[in-house]
Symmetry: C2
Subunit: 202 residues, 2 copies
């Protein structure tokens, strides 16, 4: 007996609705980033939305010819595993490795709620993002790394101060942007330099 059993809808549609209701729990996962008004933490659902917006905007000028639908699909689904596995900050490399098995199990469970072949398609898309095995995935990964940098910078570095992040550490974390999508590196580098120059990064 599931939530949708009594709806009298075709099985495929029922399973899509089960997934969409389960996925809404991403609004209950909070991140290290705070909102720009400082009142509370950003949720992973909000982060996912802002990433998608960043991709729409930054694709113009930095990612011509990249499959934007694929990028947006990946950004919209990539954090759903946190519903089971929780969010691990990018600054905590050891915890990021530990969480991997949990995230894979979460992906199996959550995308497994969908009808086939859709569940398998979205699971493969999630893996493509994680493993950065396509041009679309590399652009998406770079945007996912740049967005917290932009927010921390716009929030006067409060998130960096709280965690005692140095400029060297920030450059090391953000090097992934250069690795994934060089055209975005100038932007990341300018934000880090400005943050450092204004004393936001130790």
């Amino acid at each position: 007996m599931t939530l949708t059993s009594a709806l009298g809808l075709p099985d495929d549609r029922r399973r899509q609705l089960e997934f969409l209701v389960a996925a809404h729990r991403l609004t209950e996962i909070t991140r290290v980033n705070r909102l720009l008004d400082g009142t509370r933490s950003e949720t992973s659902a909000e982060h996912s939305w802002h990433l998608a917006l960043c991709a729409v905007v930054l694709a113009e000028g930095t990612a011509p010819g990249v499959d934007l639908a694929r990028v947006l699909e990946m950004l919209v689904i990539h954090d759903i595993v946190e519903i089971d596995a929780g969010d691990v900050p990018i600054y905590d490399a050891a915890a990021r490795i530990e969480i991997e098995a949990l995230e894979h199990a979460a992906a199996q469970r959550l995308f497994g709620l969908l009808p086939e072949p859709e569940g398998a398609r979205l699971l493969a898309l999630w893996q493509e993002f994680e493993e950065a095995t396509s041009e679309a995935a590399r652009f998406a990964r770079a945007v996912d790394r740049l967005q917290p940098l932009l927010l921390h910078w716009a929030g006067d570095g409060a998130a960096w101060h709280e965690r005692g992040i140095t400029v060297e550490k920030e450059r090391e974390i953000m090097a992934l942007i250069h690795e994934m999508w060089p055209p975005l590196w100038e932007t990341a580098s300018a934000l880090i330099d400005d943050a450092h120059g204004r004393g936001m990064l130790g």
Copy 2:
């Protein structure tokens, strides 16, 4: 003097960053919908993310051949005007008409932060959604109407009870789904019927 003046980046990139920081304020706009755990209202940023996810999932089976990149771009940007104009519930038809001029001014201001021709392109995309002048826009509008219905249903109708919504009123509001995208009507209708049968709708 703007936020990004000192970054030493090309003007187009600076303006993109100004827009992305300003747009993050959509996380501060709250809606009538509550989260499924009941703890707080959904934000418009979270709503926008969940809409994009609904479109990714429901396109399979109900919108083959529709330009998904265009649908997702529209869903990701469509609520940004609420940063200036606020959110008006779908149940309040008079207020929805009153707010239109405010929303148009907000779209001009916010998309105007972007470099050209990108700002004009996103403004036109926002208008395409509002006026439902393309297949992609009609599918996106139907998804935007279906998502609160799904959430209210999954939340045992608390949002309907709070506002005293009857089944006739809900059918009237949701008729837009049939008008915009008939393949989604079976789903909307099943949710309304089930909600009515279980006493969630007066």
